[in-house]
Assembly symmetry: C2
Homo-oligomer: 390 residues x 2
């Protein structure tokens, strides 16, 4: 029996690496690929679908249905398009599903995957940030195993090794510090899109690379860690570790620290989730500590990187503050990418939106349902679009 799998967001950075691993591990001979989804890169989506002999290929962009149909002509692979098609595809029962759509657009399909997949490999951190309680409750009800694919949370998962988290005193998330680790505030104020995208260690998509430069990515990960491992804000520490070798650590009550390390290659975390609980070899570089020679650590500067302070504020507000924070962050990112606001404006925008909506966010919960989450997401996003720098 081949294992049934789906990849949501297969043309992005995580998705491409997932396809790569599936192919290296036997492709269609080993895996019965049900669904691949992408957005605008129809050529790649069709190529992947053909290589893996997928059953269905879905593009999120309705306008590109014809192009997808044409690209898959004669292959027998079904082409669909649009948000409803995405959700329908997520309702197909599979042994293993990868949720790797970027941003809160991934939330609706992720909830369906949590209902219908045996294992949900979750790279879409926004699902947990915006609707952690809902995702967890859905998995608990369906019996779906949630495996985090973010390298930091995968590290914590591995460090815990199936153990209890009741004895955890602290989670230590490592952060590379991004391309602006040693920049001054003045330099950062003038940072260009290209500079923000030049991540020193990780080869990632555009949006997450910029989120690493602002450390908004780490802020999302703080909220994600809170949701996944049931730890409070004061139990989560962020430490700058420029080499990105230690992917994160847990500390127990007896002050014993367990760290997971690996070369900075997303195929480590993706492969872990794909093969769990087995650990076959993966195409990642072996660590050689004599060559590595040195690992460094430093306290993050929250003046230049206010995102970390805002993450704690999100946990303090609770409720749907994560959804507000993420939507505001996404609109800030859109505006920075289109050169509408400066690099440091992003955090100011997010803070303003978060404080404007904090009472409303604090009163609500993702357990009220996806509509409630998407409503406050929309409100925060609109506020973000209207925000003007002082």
């Amino acid at each position: 029996m081949r294992r049934t799998v789906s990849i949501f967001g297969s043309t992005g950075s995580i998705g491409r690496n997932t396809v790569d691993l599936l192919l290296r591990q036997g492709g269609a001979d080993v895996y019965d690929v049900k669904v691949l989804t992408g957005a605008r890169n129809i050529k790649l989506l069709a190529e992947q679908a053909i290589l893996l002999d997928a059953e269905i290929a879905v593009t999120a962009a309705s306008s590109l249905l014809d192009a997808l149909v044409k690209a898959l002509d004669g292959t027998g692979i079904i082409a669909t398009a649009g948000g409803d098609a995405l959700r329908d595809a997520a309702k197909i029962k599979v042994d293993w599903a990868m949720s790797a759509i970027v941003g809160s657009a991934g939330l609706a399909p992720t909830i369906e995957m949590a209902k219908h997949a045996g294992i949900l490999a979750l790279a879409n951190k926004e699902s947990l940030v915006c609707a952690g309680e809902l995702i967890k409750a859905t998995c608990a009800k369906s019996g779906c195993t949630l495996l985090p694919v973010d390298s930091e949370h995968c590290a914590i998962y591995q460090a815990l090794a199936g153990g209890e988290n009741r004895d955890i005193s602290r989670i230590i998330l490592t952060a590379s510090g991004g391309p602006f680790r040693n920049w001054t505030s003045d330099q950062m104020a003038d940072a260009t899109l290209e500079q923000a995208m030049a991540h020193p260690n990780w080869d990632m998509g555009q949006r997450i690379s910029i989120d690493s430069a602002t450390m908004f990515n780490k802020a999302l990960e703080v909220i994600e860690a809170h949701q996944l491992f049931d730890v409070s804000a004061d139990q989560i520490e962020v430490i700058v570790h420029p080499q990105s070798i230690i992917h994160s650590m847990i500390e127990y009550n007896d002050y014993s620290v367990i760290a997971q390390m690996a070369a900075p290659d997303m195929r480590g975390a993706i492969g872990f989730a794909l093969n769990w609980p087995e650990r076959p070899p993966l195409p990642v570089k072996q660590l050689d500590f004599a060559t590595i020679s040195q690992l460094d650590f430093a306290t993050p500067d929250e003046t230049r990187f206010p995102a970390l302070r805002l993450a704690r504020r999100v946990l303090e507000i609770g409720g749907l503050a994560g959804a507000v924070f993420n939507a505001a962050k996404e609109s800030a990112l859109d505006r920075f990418i289109s050169a509408d606001i400066g690099f440091l404006d992003m955090a100011q925008l997010v803070e303003t939106v978060l404080e404007s909506l904090h009472v409303k966010a604090g009163r609500s919960s993702s357990l009220e349902g996806l509509e409630t989450v998407m409503a406050i997401d929309k409100e925060a996003r609109e506020m973000g679009q209207q925000w003007m720098p002082e």
Copy 2:
């Protein structure tokens, strides 16, 4: 019901720390202390026995029985002495036993502990080096849980977190490098006892401190790791890590590395074994990575530290090569302590003895029994005593 415990070697460095933890965790109110044993420090042994309200105190030195009887006069604590008394005391059934006698003298009582204790906390690494198969077979038969107390092996045990070791590709033992890490061979040739005892990180007994300076301690640990975790010589790597923060690491087939870290304080490993599988707070320093700032790694220099090469040779020979190696090392250590041979002579002595006895050692096994092990130990020790530097 109080937990029944015994400590063999309670007046040494590990023993004193074990007593300290028992007292901090409630002493005689919580623990029903059956046996404490020591050698020549009768005053401390009697003090510990009284503090913990032990049932029996044993001194390994028969000549000191009168002194022990006198020191315990009126306390109701039974005093015994000598090798047979030690073995008899190890036959008393307890929930938890600490084996912390230094050297191969700890072997006979450790085998009895493995028969009669629910959990055997093993700090006497020589037991595993000299008679690993016998100890493991004894534990398997009695149902005794073996918990390593060496900080490196405790680290590996924690990193594994009860998981399978079939997926392990490598064990990476860290070594501080000892006081002579940056010394030249010429400087090392003239090293004094006092210099060899000045360990940079760990506060330990005299013998193990010198074994750290020669890296014979790490060589014993390589053999110990082989016995405990069923890994071959080429799966065990030693890396110099001067800060002694990472206590050791395991690498899985997928090149994911799990490391255990803690402040260099033996109460971490002792407390782990004492409280396992619980993890209450321990009186060890919390790690602060911003203050630590840097962790360094380097390849060990096997020219200056031949002990590591000899450890691989021991695994290659197999059989009782570990017993020969350890006995030769102990006699070399005795002779260095009494200023009879120089620092670098120790490794030469051990290599000569090991090669002289390698055929005989390779043909035998500790499963033949303690007598066989002790016979080859005696032979190696005598050879070591007669060895002369060229």
